[in-house]
Amino acid sequence: MFPLADQLAMALPSQHVLSFVIGLLFGFFLEQAGFGNSKKLAMTFYFRDMTVVKVMFTAIITAMTGVLIFSEVGWLQMDMVWLNPTYIWPGIVGGVIMGAGFAIGGYCPGTGLVGIPTLKKDAYFNIGGAMIGMMIYGELSPMLEDFYKSGFMGSRATLPEFFGLTPGVVALLVICFALAMFFFSEWVEKKMAHSGGPS
């Protein structure tokens, strides 16, 4: 019976209204978490304020658990759900470039967008930069095309498939990983608070 949009054969305008509402809540929670502020985001990388790690992994395990339950009981047709295709090399190189961009710019595109309505001047410059970077990518795209399509491992490749485990076991491992990150985050924040000044 889900995804609802496919089930109801929803027309484009109603799909767009639904997307707007989902985006509204997405932006609300990002800002509530403090992600409109680049300094707060960057402090994650210096172990001073681990909010990014806590929020991100809580969100992932929450949604992952929901998706797993919904699909296991047969409510959610997973083959109708968008799944990121795996092109491993551009995925990894893109990750490297984005990681550098995150540390230098302080924002990622989603959090930069949240800094726009809350009038963070650096968010305006960051989103402007993102537009420049994407424009450059577009211009170089004919040259990058072969690399962009390299390392293809499947349009719906998943961790469970890759490791030969059931989705439930992988989900459990992800939850354990997330819990380990939470404990580490709480511990390191306290440690940094006690040691005080810059390290």
Binding site: F2, P3, A5, L18, S19, F20, I22, G23, L24, L25, F26, G27, F28, F29, L30, A33, G34, G36, S38, K39, K40, F45, Y46, T51, V55, M56, A63, M64, G66, W82, N84, P85, T86, I88, I92, V93, G95, G101, F102, I104, P109, G110, L113, V114, P117, T118, L119, D122, A123, F125, G129, M131, I132, G133, M134, P142, L144, E145, M153, R156
Partner: protein
């Protein structure tokens, strides 16, 4: 550093975000996104300047060739929602303030320059990786997509390493 107390508890915010992501998947069959809408804005501007160029470069054509309006896409409406949602939360919390957030050791000008550089890198990398922290790390993370996990882990490892190099920008 202690965070501003008016922020929502991070685990609660993450739980809320997770439910929104779950709703996006269950109701719409797609995850969340951000960088794609920025790309669509770029293509719209390029199309206004030179429609032939957009038609000729196949990557750009995919977004807005011929009569295709790059902005008439669910992701653009979602991002308009993100901006409005951020505004609502910011107003409620009293965080709407014209300011530059940065480390104590650098000037505003330097911070803004690095914001452009970082944004450009992130934007470029997001095109190469077919999505950013929202579309790849969050959405692909929750659906256990293999490539998304590879991108997410690489992104964070490199961000931590590079943050050490660029320490002066932030602390």
């Amino acid at each position: 550093m202690k965070s501003n107390d008016s922020y929502l508890n991070p685990y609660l915010a993450g739980f809320g975000l997770g439910l929104v992501l779950l709703a996006a998947i269950v109701l719409y069959g797609k995850g969340l996104g951000a960088s794609g809408a920025i790309m669509r804005t770029v293509v719209t501007i390029e199309k206004a300047v030179s429609p032939e160029h957009v038609n000729n470069v196949s990557y750009l054509a995919g977004y807005g060739s011929g009569n295709k309006n790059p902005m008439y896409h669910w992701l653009v409406f979602e991002v308009i929602g993100v901006i409005v949602g951020g505004l609502v939360s910011g107003v409620l919390a009293g965080r709407v303030r014209w300011e530059v957030n940065k480390g104590p050791q650098i000037s505003n000008q330097k911070r803004l320059g690095f914001a452009v550089l970082g944004g450009a890198l992130f934007g470029f990398g997001a095109r190469l990786a077919r999505g950013c922290t929202s579309g790849v790390a969050l959405s692909g993370g929750a659906t256990l997509a293999l490539g998304s996990w590879a991108t997410m882990l690489t992104l964070f490892v490199v961000a931590y390493a590079m943050a050490w190099v660029f320490k002066k920008l932030w602390i």
